[in-house]
């Protein structure tokens, strides 16, 4: 006679809870998203486009693309190496290494930025030598890239490690037995097994890299048209009473969020079907 307790709830309670959940999402997530676009287009299409092609905005978009491309490349390679080392080999200090990968998630972005100032600033450990030799790290794109790599470091490795752990090393061992070399094993056996998880990690990494504010703000120096990324440019425009332009630039990040969400949904479906191994 017993049915599930949830099924027993009166229809009213059910409607109330669902209504509440929808309301919360609507109020906290959908409404602000709509507000961004409403503000961005408050003066129409022309003003919207004008805000995006303005030289400082264009420079910010270029810089964000550069930093993101470099961070994604670096983190994809490093993530693969980390995951490979951790899941295919046994060695001392492995659990410590796993914990350290997660460190960027638990460190405040401001601290992440300050670390690089401490290392590469004019008063830092390597700063004076670098400046004397004409290297600009912080307050320039290399520093911004380093800070971005730091905060987005865990995404790829975090996605790959559980999957590769689950898959084990049997297929690779079989391939080696059949005479395949290291690169061949990786490209023909390992990579096809992890491809969707890898893309998923890269996707998350991408979203965070483009949107990072705190760490980048510390190492940017805020030079107009040179060291401001999209999020920093949004703040500058807002502080200059250019609200429409600020939201127009912000809408790029909002669009990115929507695209990421869609891509995530597609990838999750793929992961569900093929990611869980064989």
């Amino acid at each position: 006679m017993s049915t599930s307790p949830v099924g027993d709830e009166p229809a009213l309670v059910k409607a109330l809870v669902i209504g509440l959940a929808t309301g919360i999402v609507g109020l906290l997530i959908v409404l602000p998203l709509i507000a961004v676009f409403a503000q961005a287009f408050v003066k129409g299409w022309d003003a919207y486009l004008a805000a995006l092609v303005e030289p400082d905005a264009r420079a910010a978009i270029r810089l964000t693309l550069l930093v993101t491309a470099l961070s994604l490349t670096a983190n994809t390679v490093m993530g693969l190496v980390m995951a490979w080392a951790i899941t295919k080999f046994e060695f001392r200090g492995k659990s410590l290494l796993i914990s350290l990968i997660d460190l960027p998630f638990s460190v405040s972005p401001v601290v992440a930025g300050l670390v690089f100032v401490l290392l590469f600033g004019a008063q830092g450990y390597f700063g004076p030598w670098l400046i004397d030799n004409g290297w600009k790290i912080i307050f320039s794109w290399p520093g911004i890239t380093l800070a971005t790599i730091f905060v987005t470091f865990p995404f790829v490795a975090r996605e790959l490690i559980p999957l590769m752990q689950e898959q084990g090393t049997r297929e690779e061992e079989a391939a080696v037995t059949l005479g395949a070399g290291g690169w061949r094993v990786f490209s023909r056996v390992t990579l096809p097994n992890i491809k969707w998880a890898l893309l998923y990690g890269v996707l998350l990494c991408n979203a965070r890299a483009m949107g990072e504010f705190g760490a980048v703000s510390v190492v940017s120096g805020h030079v107009r048209g040179e060291t401001n990324t999209i999020p920093l440019q949004v703040e500058i425009l807002y502080n200059e009473y250019q609200f429409q332009a600020s939201f127009a630039v912000a809408s790029l990040l909002a669009l990115l969020a929507i695209v990421t969400l869609l891509a995530k949904t597609v990838l999750e479906a793929r992961l569900g079907r093929s990611g869980g191994g064989h």
């Binding site: 420079a59 810089l63 550069l66 600033g121 805020h222 030079v223 500058i236």
Partner: protein
Amino acid sequence: MSLHFRSAAVAALVAALAAPLAYSPPVRAADVTLLNVSYDPTRELYSQFNRLFAERYKAETGKSVEIKTSHGGSGKQARSVIDGLDADVVTLALAYDIDAIADRGFLAKDWQQRLPDNASPYTSTIVFLVRKGNPKGIKDWNDLTKPGVQVITPNPKTSGGARWNYLGAWAYALKQSGGDAEKAKAFVGEIYKHVPVLDTGARGSTVTFTERGVGDVLLAWENEAFLSKKEFGDDKFDIVVPSLSILAEPPVAVVDRNVARKGTREVAEAYLKLLYSKEGQTLAAENFYRPRDPEVAKAYAKVFPTLELVTIDDPAFGGWRKAQQTHFADGGVFDQIYSN
């Protein structure tokens, strides 16, 4: 599915490789590039002044110059220059912030004697911006501590304007109490009990007050108060001029070490010199900074109200180094009153 993946991977790779190409470092159209690291409210002034300078410099030397700017809280900006932000010139909110840069060997310690008027081509003061009609009836500093009044001012640790705000209140309290520092401390402490949020820079506080609608009164740079009225319309805010305030002297300097490395001393010096010219002074006045030049000052006299102004070199403060040490250093008077 493998085909799918391969094309996706190729697309991602192409995107990753194409992005740096799209970046293609900005074409150096200009013969010289100059970086002016400035404080928060000067954005509008320097965006106009940079254009003026580029025109004048081109006319005089035939060379084109591009001026980059960076804005933020004055103390934070000084810190960035100390950490290696390679400013050719600094145009900050108060002398102590440039002193701090000089202390690290970036420029000569006597920098303030190298240009006229304490190296401050324009001055300003601290006034109150209130909501239209002044509903809380704020007339002077003592009204800031009335029950129910919320005061907006930035953090004196990071903002130059905030330090001027603080010292203005202090000067007023000293005068009221006949020079009693303990009473001044209690009064200034009471004001900070009425501050709901400390932004890091003056512009952040202005936005908090004007755009977010927080607070009853904004302690503001005079130029920032005028600008807010201009941006948002006369029907939104009123400016209240207190009986006494502080003469703020925002100084400018060439950063010796950086211009020596970049070979930009000559253009950096020309840039600062133009600030003192009739054209530069007029532009400053147009942006609501009080000009030094007597003729320009006379032409704009009706814009700027007259009030009693105390300077930082008044015996009560004894110059910026002493004021900084007493009030804003770690464990100084501000820390004591703000932690209570």
